[in-house]
């Protein structure tokens, strides 16, 4: 019997454990297994195998029961995820439904989740803009949050490292505030996007309209072919999962790569309840999971643990991992765990039209669009609000059909029609300021099916967000007007935070253990063999889409962890 137990413990012992298989967990898995560590990857949801588990990927519109629309019953049962732009008849199976995993909205918060192998990396918008020191130095310069413990030079090589493997399309734009990377050929701007880009360049200092860098294989290199991926085919149906591996996801890239190493054990249906802390050893020894099929509680052990459960769930897990040493949550000596949660403000956009370039259009589809890097408060503070915003900028034309009448006339109207003028859309993406009042916590009473407390979410906009939004509308309206756009229509909405799907923070990095949870290597200050490298680690949010930064931070931290293991430090 004793031997059996020893064997069982041995079977449940690995060099490393990675909690989560999304965009950052996939990278942790790839890097740790690639360095020879036997790694257990825990995923709370089901497995999703590349291509095999993309049931809708090759369907034509008429092959969907409702030709793409979701039934009223689904929409009524899912007011939260139903608001997500990517939730449709072709992609609903990759989203968490509202009733499946409840949480407590102390303030309105649309928490959009994907519980499966690959997580939301199957569903992301694939935008990959680097941060610069204008972002990393922001909190210290402008006096909010705490100073980032890293600078651009620390992460630049790791941006390059992950970009080469993931495959990023983009142009070398030479803009200091949005550093260039290791790019595959960029997708071109269309005529109206290029027109606005030229106009802005000629008339504004430090303002640019560029082709947004995106994680698409515009022209694959050998490393991408080695992953089994091929060139992006411009389908623009990415939310279904791509049979070509045209865009980067854990499923198409890092997870199969880790699998190939022979060092990964992937365990789906595994909800991690807590991290086990050994008081005598003074370090974490493993994790306690619940198998969601059998409801069995099982412990797994490892020398190093990477927490990549997605920002808010990472907070939940750390808060729920209590011990004599950490009565208020794992590594929470400072009391800031769960606090300083921030997001991106997407609650405004502008539509306009352009009465020119009528002889030109596009053929095929682009997986990306134009991008306006942040131009407010970059070189110095110049407004009555902190920080700034980036924008997407996209132009399009469509065939204008006639829907009048019935019969042969109508049938003709549905095929004939001239092209519309050029329409453009500008989407606001504002940085929000992390505050201790924007926080998450464990509910005192309510628990989920696995005995884990529900997460209370209390996150809201503030006055800075309102001022910034106003400035976006003023500045972009002025820029569009000066470029000769007509019928400029700003629009704002009252969406709850969360719908941007860029929630960040709660276990922020910092130099001082008294005011932060993680050090500059993403180690928990007070427990060096636990690393947090997903969105929870973010000290501030800046306004770039964050996934690329999570990937780079994860690869960097994994490299450091491997070194520390070799040195015997952890």
């Amino acid at each position: 019997m004793a031997n059996l137990n020893v064997d069982s413990v041995k079977e449940r012992t690995f060099d490393a454990i990675v909690i989560g298989s999304g965009i950052s967990g996939g990278w942790a898995a790839k890097e740790l297994t690639g360095n020879g560590l036997k790694t257990l990857v825990l995923e709370r949801g089901r497995d999703v195998k590349h291509i095999k588990d993309y049931p809708t990927t090759n369907k034509y519109p008429w092959e969907f029961e409702h030709h793409g629309q979701l039934p009223a019953a689904v929409m009524e049962a899912n007011p939260i995820v139903g608001r997500c732009y990517a939730f449709g008849e072709d992609s609903a199976h990759f989203f968490v439904k509202d009733k499946e995993h409840p949480y407590v909205q102390q303030k309105p918060f649309d928490w959009i989740r994907g519980y499966q192998v690959g997580g939301k990396s199957l569903l992301w918008a694939r935008q990959t803009q680097r941060w610069s020191d204008f972002d990393f130095e922001g909190p210290a310069r402008d006096g909010y949050a705490v100073d980032w413990p890293i600078r651009y030079k620390d992460i630049a090589p790791w941006y390059s490292y992950v970009e080469k493997f993931a495959g990023i399309a983009g142009n070398k734009d030479g803009i200091p505030e949005l550093p260039d990377g290791e790019f595959l050929p960029g997708f071109p701007l269309n005529d109206v996007e290029q027109y606005f880009s030229d106009h802005v360049k000629a008339n504004y200092k430090n303002r640019y309209v560029i082709s947004a860098r995106c994680a698409h294989l515009s022209k694959p290199n050998q490393i991408h072919i080695d992953q089994g991926r091929t060139q992006c085919q411009n389908r623009d149906l990415c939310q279904r999962g791509c049979p070509f591996g045209g865009y980067f996801s854990s499923n198409a890239s890092t997870i199969p790569w880790a699998q190939k190493s022979g060092n990964m054990t992937l365990r789906p249906f595994s909800v991690v309840q807590s991290i086990i802390y050994d008081e005598k050893k003074g370090k974490a020894t493993g994790v306690r999971i619940v198998d969601t099929n059998t409801k069995e509680t099982i412990e797994y052990y490892a020398r190093v643990i990477f927490v990549n459960a997605a920002a808010l769930n990472t907070n939940l897990l750390l808060l729920n991992s209590t011990s004599n040493r950490f009565p208020n949550g794992f590594g929470n000596d400072s009391g800031v765990l769960g606090k300083y949660v921030a997001f991106h403000n997407y609650s405004a956009n502008i539509g306009a039209e352009y009465d020119g370039l009528k002889e030109w259009t596009v053929d095929g589809r682009s997986p990306t669009s134009g991008y306006i890097p942040r131009f407010r408060n970059v070189y110095k503070q110049e407004t009555d609000f902190l920080r700034g915003y980036a924008c997407t900028f996209g132009g399009y034309r469509y065939q204008q059909h006639k829907y009048d009448g019935v019969g042969a006339t109508l049938k003709e109207g549905l095929v004939k029609g001239d092209l519309s003028p050029w329409y453009v859309g500008v989407q606001f993406m504002g940085e929000t300021i992390p505050k201790d009042t924007n926080h998450v916590s464990l509910d005192a009473k309510l628990k989920d099916d696995w005995g884990v407390p529900l997460l209370n979410v209390s996150v809201d906009y503030d006055d800075n967000d309102e001022k910034m939004k106003k400035d976006f509308i003023e500045q972009l309206t002025e820029m569009l007007t000066s470029a000769g756009f007509k019928n400029i229509r700003p629009s704002t909405d009252h969406r709850a935070p969360g719908l941007d799907i860029h929630e960040m923070g709660g276990a922020r990095m910092g130099n001082d253990p008294k005011t932060s949870i993680l050090n500059k290597w993403n180690q928990v200050h007070a427990c060096k063999n636990v690393f947090v490298t997903d969105g929870a680690c973010m000290t501030s949010t800046s306004c770039q889409n964050p996934s690329l930064t999570y990937m780079a931070i994860t690869a960097r931290a994994a490299d450091y962890a491997v070194g520390e293991i070799k040195k015997g430090n952890i």
């Binding site: 629309q69 290029q194 589809r365 019969g407 549905l414 941007d500 799907i501």
Partner: protein
């Protein structure tokens, strides 16, 4: 994250045949078993006749050839909430009795010209009202727009339309900018 939603919407507008549980009725037309809304065989026949008047068989297939009446019913049964379903059924009943009062016949027994006059009449007066002041459509107009909207949606996303009338590309494999509109060979209105 809201990138090129318009293109996505266009892509959704762009797909036909749908398999539905159906059984044959006495006159040979298929009768759809609905889950949420009560629309009997006669009413289903009326919807089919309205749909066929909207997209008739010409030298190309019409609504009935493409099984669009079943699609319209499916959409109303699955994708409309209770309130919209009730309004639809109320409009359907009002439409039926309006036709009966005015013409002394069922819609399906009228000739094609008369059917077209009824439907375009509803559309014209609705457009006139809308131009004057945007108001909630009356039940008959609401019923008509619902059938028209779903018939057009089903038609323009049908396999027939998307392969024979336009070419929907699942895998374009290209993105070319600065593309002369002449090369699109669009049929002008």
């Amino acid at each position: 994250m809201n990138r090129r939603t318009v293109i996505k919407n266009l892509a959704l507008v762009i797909g036909g045949a749908v398999l539905l549980p159906s059984c044959m009725s006495h006159d040979g037309t298929s009768y759809v078993q609905l889950k949420h809304v009560n629309i009997d065989e006669d009413q289903q026949r009326l919807i089919a006749d309205v749909a066929e008047t909207i997209i008739p068989k010409t030298n190309t297939p019409g609504a009935k050839d493409l099984n669009l009446p079943a699609f319209v019913l499916k959409m109303i049964d699955d994708c409309y909430d209770k309130k919209r379903q009730q309004a639809f059924v109320a409009g359907l009943k009002a439409f039926t009795s309006m036709v009966k009062t005015k013409y002394g016949k069922q819609f399906g027994d009228l000739d094609i010209k008369q059917r077209e006059i009824i439907l375009t009449g509803i559309e014209k007066s609705a457009n006139a009202v809308k131009a004057a002041k945007p108001v909630k459509p009356d039940p008959i107009t609401g019923f008509y727009w619902d059938v028209k909207r779903q018939t057009i949606f089903g038609y323009t996303t049908s396999q027939y339309f998307m392969t024979k009338q336009i070419v929907y590309e699942l895998v374009p494999g290209r993105y070319i900018v600065h593309y002369p509109i002449k090369k699109l060979n669009l049929k002008s209105a």
